[in-house]
Subunit: 408 residues, 4 copies
């Protein structure tokens, strides 16, 4: 196992940290103020400062780091610390064009997209000119079991016709969101893992309707939003199908590996940031004649947070290293492990930080509730804890049975 | 220990439950819709249905149960199950005129108020015609240590002059909020527990300014609100002082006992409600061919929730019983114990319920995030967990030292 | 719910506590020394002091409290505090003739025994002249599922013939152990819960062989012992069958209710005692210039232990109260709840006490490891945690389904 | 961070694993049987098979791996997986001459020993001909605070005179134990960290008396033993002082770094072994018609154990890597972190394995209670959890204060 950074990564880490300190962190207040906006404004417009930040990031070469234009992709181990750094600010991922679900969608198009699809959608996505959404989860069924999916993408002559209802389509409210990837059943008679297809859907296609925006802990995450979207006889040419009919599952599997590492490293960055805030507060506030850091179990909370973060980071690096060396399939257990650990550690540390801030920690005076919502969502999104634990156990028992030469 | 209900309580439980089912629960959607309101409306107005509900509750004799007009106060043991029932709905406490901070404020006035104060403020509060706020916590210091308080209530001639900044003054945004109780230093030379006084302050007194409303997990809890309030040379007649100068601490202590039991029983009601939702979802949703209730660790989550709720309820009843039999002072450890346990159990059970609901659990389709925010706030309000744990240990060691005949 | 003690119980509590302080606690060292014994002695003999203690307890009227001779049985709520008191000493239950498995066996004989069985076995058991064992668990199968049982008790003419292997037959090594109750399959064609029978087996019956004594955490619990016992064509007259063929399950169910409350209350007594030791050590030892009680998270450990013990006790009292008022069947969930909670709380509190004692806590200088072993065994004996959690969930879902008028 | 094994380590791992499978594991039963021994034997003799195993290990070049004779010491990262492998058997460390406290004592002598000390004691220790003990902890004070130490090592003319009482001197009962290292106060007027000295004491020096052997969870760990030892006017020549007067603290600090990594990796090996046993039992035993692995929360227990072990191992490797690259001082926080995490993870996983084995898990039919005792002791030995958490927090706050340019 080797988590050492390449020279390239070391260089990028330094530059990214500097950029964050110089440009992103100081811009957060402006962004928030612009978002609250004026009379002629809605929260679903993009704060103008984002455009400026994106231009600066592009100029600084801190752009599409998750997937550089020249194809000299950073390894997952190299990208991990960069993702962690952006986890300290809810607006950072977009600044560097490294935000979900665009990253996953771009990866899909790079790997499975036709030339036409790449030209039409991948290029503007990589340029940061448009944004995209991903429509997989459905409101009517337990989507933790992907085979529950009910939406359809049926061939009719030279068209594919989409029907169904999706939700938690994150980012779909953004004014720049122009396209979405839809996953649906295209052949219920095929093998279990060849029944689904993925389709590129321009947002303005007739039959696509954003029914409402879903709040997360009372916030709509404007201007990104989490949409509930209905698809009613949405007709698209066959060239909209990604990678061919029946490849939906295969694409979904590959899509999620790197995305989970990105999310987990951002969650760890969020946890690290929360611990900084926690310590700062614990050292600066006084009660009963002592700094809070010296009172009761607070010292243990700090030690426990440090140990939990260290371990979560190392585990995520291991998963990244395995993806780099043996691929997504070989790293399946480790990817599930971090998907459980990182969001849980993050929610716990952030919660502890909220607690030590008292009421202020639950307000908007600190970024803690926003970080908490991000981390809490992650315990459900991209597979809930329960499904990942189940997978870890399944793989563990398989391994143990092999050792014992018995069948599971 | 005897937690048996009096006949009166048994009767009230049945009637309150029926009223909740018949009137309150069905009104929640209307209330929410009215709150979202129309063009000429703000979220700081009271949804009209609340007035109707209050009238019905009054007519049904389910009014001021925490403190009946005739003075035949229910015991804490008898009131506890009633508070639990109202914990299932965020709007219920107001319907029955049993909402914080009015309940605590009314108790203070009943016990310490002058005739004039009672006539002016207690009567309309008990009639549900006005509402009130309580201004104790301050933004600039760790308010978990009450001796940190910086706001002042100084005698100047025949006036008392208030200065300082308070926050988390809950309910102050309500259109009916007409008065607040302010706590401040009146004599820094007095004994440690005789330096503070409590003052009745009409909300429209010059110098009182609501600076902003504080969000909790992104919601402002309209139309109640949690205010940050500045007091600048607020001048009031000496008749505004409650119970006499220097009695602030004494009043605060007594005020918090019953209030904590109310809060804890409501939190337990919230947890019980969350467990119902959890079980309903777990039985009705299917993944991997089984109801969620049969999958992986979900069964354990249900068992653990049941055990945690049972224990928290019993502990709260014990605290109530001790308050009834040996008074607040004798029940200090138990009150602190429930103040730690009930909100922690509630947040855990509600969080588990959110998890099993998937994304829906984090949205507004279910009341879980609202219940969570309520329970999470309780881990900080009225003394954070840490302070209560500290007190429990102090009393425990005192007890043990006494047994061992040593000094702590 | 009413946990108030009857006058009788109040009186017994005081007398039992006094007897413990005056006679039992001071005798523990002598008992241990006698057990280590001399040249002509084995650890499987009874320390002489036990006989003296039993005589004194009998004379003091503190005998068979779990089941008084006159049939005026104490309620479970009344017996609970007495069991808690005896939980502070590993030798106390035998002193008062209230030790498992004799208590359960006596209850069985009182309820299901024939006159002959009563005269032969119940009378000397109640006199404390003999002891008994209970042979149910088997080494070859998961005994948490009683239907896995493989031992047989087959009718052959006018005899019942026992075959099979049992283990964890506690107390079977005691020199006074003269009889055991054996549970085995008597009719595999009968209904699932009518296939088993219980048989009274004199220990010296041909074919009964104690194969070995099983250690628990390296101790054999001499002179009681936990035996692995083989039964090979053990022939007994039909009069040895308890309550008739096929009633084994029914008897087992009834047997376990009170026994679990006894065990849980003793575990709580053990936890309470461990907390006393913990506090004593925490107040008397100094590190880094402070009493351990003031260092780091130790204060929180004390508070958490106090809250856990209080809750476990209240829950056990509730289970006892329900058994008294609605019977074992109606109290099934509560009995399972305490069977999970009490041993877990006890192991946690005792473990915390060991930790604060440093190495001494793991040695025999303190009773902590013995208490720990007792509590740890309880997480497995009489149904492991997992089975009880499963039952709690099953009953909870049944209840919730009824509320929702759906089927589970 | 780079955890890759050197070619040397890779080779050693394979050979060590093969040796364990071929020689050590199969010898465990013989060892246990010889230890129980015969008529003319005591448990404080060494089972003969140990001598054979040691000879084989030496011949196989698997000897003193923690510190090769040629001085080409393996890095901590390279030694870590070897230590983990030996953690699977309680007898393995001695087989490879890699057992505590000899390893630490040898390291001390290599680094601080005089030529005479090396010839007299280091050489036979490295040859495995003798064993040693380490006498630091004292019964009368909280030894977690080393400044509490009361034993003395005072200069008197050309002798150093030792007085005091030590305990938990592990290995002192072994028939080959010939020497111990004693730590005591030599100058109470010196600087806080220069008051103590370390002295080499032949076990047969007049005035050294093993008062008793201390049990751990009822076992004396024969033939090693944990001794309570009194020192009464023990007179030794000045050449017995290690490294010079007043260097006790310095030596103790350096001694503990590698030893903690050894212990932690062994604990992780024990946890990994326990998880294997857990899975094997969970797959092979059936209850309620299913393998235990498929029942209730058991699957989650397996997933949680896997995640905890992975994280603990990675954290330990990080600490090892830091010791290799920045030294003990720079790795202080990480060493304390693993000292908390590894034993806690091990106790939890082993406890879970015991639980799934039912009664068998608490007996000697499985090695679980022995592994548990080892891991549980580690939560206290070499600094209890509490002290390490305190240190982690102290270093964390220092780091954070530096970042914020404030003082702690």
């Amino acid at each position: 196992m080797n988590f050492a950074h390449s020279d390239n990564a070391t260089n990028l880490i330094a530059r990214l940290q500097a950029f964050m300190q110089e440009h992103v962190i100081p811009a957060e207040k402006t962004y928030a103020a612009q978002l609250r906006g004026g009379a002629d404004w809605t929260q679903w417009q993009q704060p103008p400062i984002m455009k400026e930040l994106k231009a600066k990031a592009k100029a600084a070469g801190l752009w599409n780091l998750f997937l550089p234009e020249d194809g000299a992709r950073l390894s997952n181990v190299d990208y991990a610390p960069l993702a962690e750094i952006t986890g300290r600010s809810m607006i950072a991922p977009e600044v560097f064009n490294c935000n979900a679900p665009d990253t996953g969608n771009m990866e899909v198009l790079v790997k499975y997209g036709s030339d036409e699809q790449k030209q039409h959608w991948l290029n503007p996505l990589m340029a940061g000119e448009i944004r995209s959404a991903f429509c997989m989860t459905e409101p009517g069924v337990a989507s933790s079991d992907a085979t529950n999916m009910q939406a359809t993408a049926m061939l009719e002559g030279d068209e594919v016709v989409l029907n169904g209802r999706k939700w938690w389509s994150s980012g779909i409210g953004h004014p720049n969101c122009k396209v979405l990837i839809f996953m649906g059943l295209s052949d219920t008679n095929a093998d279990k893992h060849q029944q689904h297809s993925m389709i590129l859907v321009p947002l303005d296609t007739p039959g696509v309707k954003i029914e409402r925006m879903l709040p997360v802990f009372h916030t709509l995450d404007e201007p990104y939003g989490h949409g509930e979207v209905s698809f009613t006889n949405v007709r698209l040419p066959l060239s909209s199908i990604i990678g061919g009919l029946g490849r939906g599952f295969e694409i979904a599997q590959g899509r999620l590996g790197p995305g989970r590492i990105h999310h987990c490293m951002r969650a760890i960055g969020a946890a690290e940031f929360a611990l900084e805030l926690l310590c700062e507060r614990a050292m600066s506030r006084v009660a009963f004649g002592k700094a809070l850091a010296k009172l009761g179990g607070n010292a243990d909370i700090i030690a426990n947070a440090r140990m939990a973060i260290e371990q979560a980071r190392l585990l995520t690096l291991k998963a990244a290293w395995m993806m780099d060396t043996v691929g997504v399939k070989g790293a399946m257990s480790e990817i599930s492990q971090i998907k459980v650990i990182a969001p849980n550690v993050a929610t716990q540390v952030i919660d502890a930080a909220m607690q030590i801030h008292g009421g202020a920690g639950l307000s908007d005076d600190f970024p803690l509730t926003a970080l908490y919502a991000y981390a809490r969502v992650l315990r459900i999104a991209d597979g809930p804890d329960e499904v990942h634990r189940g997978l870890i156990t399944k793989l563990e028992l398989k391994q143990q049975a092999k050792r014992l030469s018995i069948s599971t």
